[in-house]
């Protein structure tokens, strides 16, 4: 007899099962040749410390720097043995933080990692656009999962939210009276100065 109750128990327990599909915090790195990953984040200090640990565990050869934009604070950490540096420092801007950090990392780390392909931000943008299936458009779900306040306004995700939500035309008063006629005919009718009657109704 099939007994899957143990699996159910395991999956039912896991709160991460649901949480992993939700965007809780958001950062993307800028990669520098000095083995430095620099990202901007907007969150609480306690969360940033956890995020730093997570990223250090994920990218051990890199120095991870997270710049918290609300209070202009830079958090730096690394798992490298030649860069045992863990600091929190205040700056005026992210550019100044980078100016301070880059030479420091450059001095300490000599070995570099080259991936052989030059980076362009369009890579992700183009890939993102190719993945969308128009028949399955579900903006409500995208909005629910993607917290717009965490997104950069220039990002491709933010633009896609705007772009596709604009295609939904607002319901107008005329739609209730002439529901059988196509929307564009009604709009033409509104444009003509003969009230709400469409052209062919004359």
């Amino acid at each position: 007899m099939r007994n899957r109750l143990r699996t159910i128990e395991r999956k039912g327990d896991s709160s991460l099962f649901f949480a992993s599909h939700q965007l809780k915090a958001f950062t993307r790195f800028e990669s520098f040749p000095e083995m430095l990953l620099f990202g901007k984040i907007a969150s609480h200090a306690s969360f940033i410390m956890n995020a730093l640990n997570f990223f250090c565990y994920r990218f051990p050869p890199f120095v991870i720097a997270l710049y918290n934009t609300p209070n202009n604070r830079l958090f730096v950490q690394s798992k490298r043995k030649d860069f045992c540096y863990r600091t929190i420092k205040d700056f005026d801007s992210s550019e100044k933080a980078l100016e301070w950090l880059r030479p420091l990392v450059q001095k300490s780390i000599k070995k570099r990692l080259h991936f052989g392909v030059d980076w362009k931000p369009e890579y992700f943008e183009r890939f993102f656009e190719t993945q969308f299936i128009e028949n399955r458009k579900n903006l409500r779900l995208q909005k629910k999962l993607m917290f717009t306040n965490l997104l950069d306004k220039d990002s491709v995700e933010f633009k896609s939210l705007k772009k596709f939500s604009r295609t939904l035309s607002n319901t107008q008063l005329g739609d209730f009276f002439f529901s059988k006629t196509p929307v564009h005919t009604q709009q033409q009718a509104i444009q003509t100065k003969k009230g709400f009657l469409p052209k062919n109704a004359e």
Binding site: S20, F115, R126, F127, T130, Q131, R136
Partner: protein, 383 residues
């Protein structure tokens, strides 16, 4: 052709491939020089306007194909397209660039079959070897096994990846041969699934083996999908079956055919979940489809089953087992567990409010449960 153009063509070719990253990745080697420890659960990085998460870089190695799958945009019968392929170093570098910038969480690599299946698999192996050995990447990789690949390649791919999959495309041999003439269902697909089963050991491909089927492209019934699921889970050790409602692609031989409603795909997933998460038997699931062997698109499969087995209900909420509770519409695995916990603690549920607090969907559940011996009356009782 530059990398950006290749990414557009080869990335777009995988948009119908369904895959989700799993936390069941292999244990990372205890080495500080390796990138991408897959242990910690990450967050999805991005969501497309169809609500799907983009957490993996999904690409094809090449889009030049020798097969004639009628639903596919890359088949020999489709409208000619620009053919291209990624060089292994190019794709490996591109992937690492995206990964280190935290755009993606892993790689899903598939391919069209250029020349023969072994040729395609060798290219994939080359790419993955660069990623794993040259760039020291230890994270999540999902690889597609090509129909007709040899045992040796399958073994190597299973060893190097976190999850492997092979597309079944259709639940039966007849419908498969209607859609594709260049592949043999039993030899090229089912036998390869058996090879994967032999090659897969505990430490290899911890994410398991998955498969994907196109729903309704050749007039298949839902019962056929359910029967196939049973065989896949029980005989071939498949971890999960994915479904993709047939959606005519412009330029493919079936582009004039009508698409299948997404609800049908959704309901097939629901039946799959009833088996995998709710512990239902396939013998029960097979009762759900109607006379035309299809699921009703107006009633949820669990509710349909409950209506077909009225003798099971009402279930006494305070004295029933977890299995009985899971059969009640509106009660899921978590709420069933909470009710059982209450039973262990000798706490009796006395009213509907308490049930609502537990997280039960009362509207669905009330006709099928009894609280303190009282159950909701049905309309038939008054006739």
């Amino acid at each position: 052709m530059n990398t950006l153009q290749k990414l557009e063509l080869l990335g777009g070719g995988t948009k119908w491939d369904i895959c989700t990253p799993t936390s069941k990745a292999h244990a990372p080697k205890n080495n500080d020089s390796r990138i991408g420890a897959p242990y910690s659960a990450g967050v999805c990085r991005s969501f497309t306007p169809d609500g799907r998460c983009v957490s993996l870089l999904k690409v094809l190695n090449t889009n030049a194909c020798i097969h004639d799958c009628k639903y596919c945009m890359h088949s020999t019968n489709s409208k000619p397209q620009t053919k291209t392929q990624f060089e292994p170093k190019e794709l490996a570098g591109l992937f690492m660039q995206l990964y280190t910038r935290n755009y993606i969480e892993g790689l899903f690599l598939s391919s069209a079959v250029m020349g023969n299946a072994d040729c395609a698999q060798e290219k994939m192996l080359e790419t993955i070897n660069i990623i794993r050995n040259q760039f020291h990447y230890d994270g999540y990789i999902h690889l597609k096994i090509m129909p007709g690949s040899n045992m040796n390649h399958i073994k190597q791919l299973v060893e190097i990846s976190d999850r492997v999959s092979i597309n079944l495309e259709s639940p039966t041999k007849n419908s498969f041969s209607e859609l594709i003439s260049t592949k043999e269902y039993k030899i090229d697909i089912l036998r390869r699934l058996r090879y994967i089963q032999h090659a897969k050991q505990k430490q290899f491909a911890p994410g398991g083996v998955t498969t994907q089927m196109v729903v309704g492209a050749a007039g298949e019934t839902d019962l056929e999908y359910i029967n196939r699921m049973e065989k896949l889970y029980d005989d071939y050790g498949v971890y999960r079956a994915y479904f993709s409602a047939f959606d005519p692609i412009k330029g493919s031989p079936l582009d004039q055919q009508k698409g299948i409603p997404l609800r049908r795909e959704n309901f097939l997933y629901r039946t799959d979940w009833l088996v995998r998460f709710y512990g239902f038997e396939f013998s029960e699931i097979k009762k759900i489809p109607g006379e035309n062997e299809n699921l009703s698109l107006s009633i949820d499969p669990k509710l349909a089953l409950a209506l077909k087995t009225p003798n099971r209900f009402p279930v006494d909420i305070n004295h029933s087992t977890e299995e009985e509770l899971l059969h009640v519409p509106g009660i899921g695995p978590i709420s069933a567990k909470r009710i059982i916990q209450k039973q262990y603690n000798n706490q009796k549920i006395k009213n509907e409010k308490e049930l609502k607090k537990i997280g039960i969907r009362l509207k669905q559940a009330l006709p099928f449960i009894a609280i303190n011996g009282f159950s909701q009356s049905r309309l038939e009782a008054f006739s």
